[in-house]
């Protein structure tokens, strides 16, 4: 009796875990099949014919998908880079200094993930028209950075607090210049946090639809916006193909990001593919 109970206790958790993994993967598998489906009538479980319509659309057609993908990746990389650049000093200030309004700043930097994106997007309109930022890439980059700051600030503040500044002081005592200290001590210590924060910022920016649409006014087309009408109109093959391309591109960017950083900084701990 006890033996049976023990087996059940071991089998049940594993079954639940594998069912969960299956539910994560099944829709993605279906997505992959759809992207190469030619004709797939109900109630067939697999497509009747396969087609390379997506590839033709991508490389042969006039869709401009690849240009959009390229500029979209570029925008998101700029957003990720800028978010990290402005978060590093602010995170240091929070970790090592006492200043007026520190708690308030931490509360405020949390708000962009809490406050609905529609309220933010619609509120920017008058300001951005006045500043000549609406319908521009710079405007889109600015609002994307705002959405990323809660994550980059939180991750980098935690990493900065955890590493402390003893090593930097040591370096300064031993005669390193502020630049050398930053380049050879601070930056490598922060690198795991930078990779995590950068990946997060990249994906937030790359996935953004509504904010880009409203601030970019249909002038600035990112890949998310490009995909949207296909998903909405129900061209399953093209929509699925572009979705696969979206996911693959993100994965590729992360791998690139991590290998580059690892090569230069010998980081062991990484965020996405450890």
């Amino acid at each position: 009796m006890e033996a049976i109970n023990n087996i059940e206790l071991k089998v049940l958790p594993k079954t639940i875990l594998y069912i969960t993994l299956f539910s994560v993967l099944l829709p993605l598998g279906v997505l992959l099949i759809w992207s190469f489906a030619g004709s797939w009538p109900w109630p067939n479980l697999l497509p009747k014919t396969f087609s390379y319509r997506v590839l033709a659309e991508l490389f042969g057609g006039y869709s401009g998908a690849l240009q959009v993908l390229f500029s979209s990746v570029l925008i998101s990389m700029v957003v990720a880079f800028a978010s990290i650049l402005i978060s590093i000093p602010a995170a240091r200030a929070i970790a090592f200094y006492d200043f007026l309004g520190k708690d308030f700043l931490q509360f405020i930097t949390l708000l962009p993930v809490i406050v609905p994106v529609t309220a933010f997007a619609m509120g920017t309109q008058i300001l951005f028209i006045r500043l000549n930022l609406s319908d521009t890439v710079i405007g889109v980059v600015i609002v994307h950075i705002i959405l990323c700051l809660p994550y980059t600030m939180k991750i980098l503040t935690e990493v900065t607090e955890a590493t402390g500044n003893k090593m930097e002081r040591q370096a300064r005592v031993l005669g390193a210049t502020p630049y050398q200290t930053f380049r050879y001590v601070t930056l490598p210590l922060l690198m795991p946090g930078i990779i995590a924060a950068g990946s997060m910022a990249y994906i937030i920016s790359f996935s953004q639809y509504f904010l880009t649409f409203l601030v970019g006014g249909g002038n600035i087309i990112t890949f998310s916006m490009f995909m949207f009408p296909y998903i909405q109109s129900g061209d399953r093959t093209i929509a699925s193909g572009y979705s696969i391309l979206f996911i693959a591109t993100s994965l590729l960017v992360f791998i690139l990001f991590e290998t580059l950083m690892k090569r230069y900084y010998h980081v062991e701990e990484v965020y996405f593919f450890n």
């Binding site: 969960t20 994560v24 109630p43 402005i86 529609t118 309220a119 933010f120 619609m122 008058i126 790359f206």
Partner: protein, 292 residues
Amino acid sequence: MHHSRLKPYWMILPVVVFMGIFIYSILNTLIQSLGILPAAGLNEWTLSYYQAVLFRGDLFPSLQLSLYFSVVSSLLAVILGVLISALAVRTGFTRKKLFQIFKVPIIVPHLVAALLILNLFSQSGIISRVFYQLNWVQSPQQFPSVLFDPYALGIMLAYLWKEVPFVILMVVTIMEKIDGSIGEAAVNLGASKFKTFYRITLPLCLPTIYTSFLLVFAYSFGAFEIPFLLGMTSPKALPVLAYVEFTHPDLAHRPYAMALNGIMVVLSIMLTYVYYRIFKGDQKAKAGGGYQ
């Protein structure tokens, strides 16, 4: 001396500038929701737009709908996420390569999540085809329409697919740490595994669990894509309705959009405040208990 006292302010300056733009935009939304929009000739403060949202028959159902699907899907996501995290930690599953699969939904955008649900659950989707093979339905029309339905099942399924792994990834790290150190001590002292988890590990994970609920709820309450792609035409979710009102050709309609936004802003900030109170209380308890 003077220089170093100003230093932290210089360091936070760029972040402050960006947050300034954010706050200014939100204030703009709130001011317009109170009837001040000079461009449309509206110059008098009024609460009438909020009254309309709360009491008008065509606007109030949207608030109900949004609250309903975001509360239910977030609660489910957190319960399932915590449960699966606990199982993964207990069985050592977190150390397996397969566990990394839970990271995949993070990089899948919400609009693709909507497509995944369409592919699976539409009347001609895969599930319906499997039902046919099992002889449960004879035509696509017989398959229950779980998309664009009054119970918002499609919307909630899409959110669950995205948010359960998100909760798992947030909770599992902290749970593993606690379970490894304190949990072991408790088991050594004779507590049962279940008791240890329920009495020690879970309470210590609560701050992270609250945080994940807050993030997931706030997102699903305020996001546009999924309810736009998977919701019914009427009632619409709040963000979708706000967008429709926003694009109304008559500019004088705009305060309705802003009042819808205003309600979302007030609710989400209230929730964040409650969260801070709970979180602060919890930190005190933690400090008192001597765990860190």
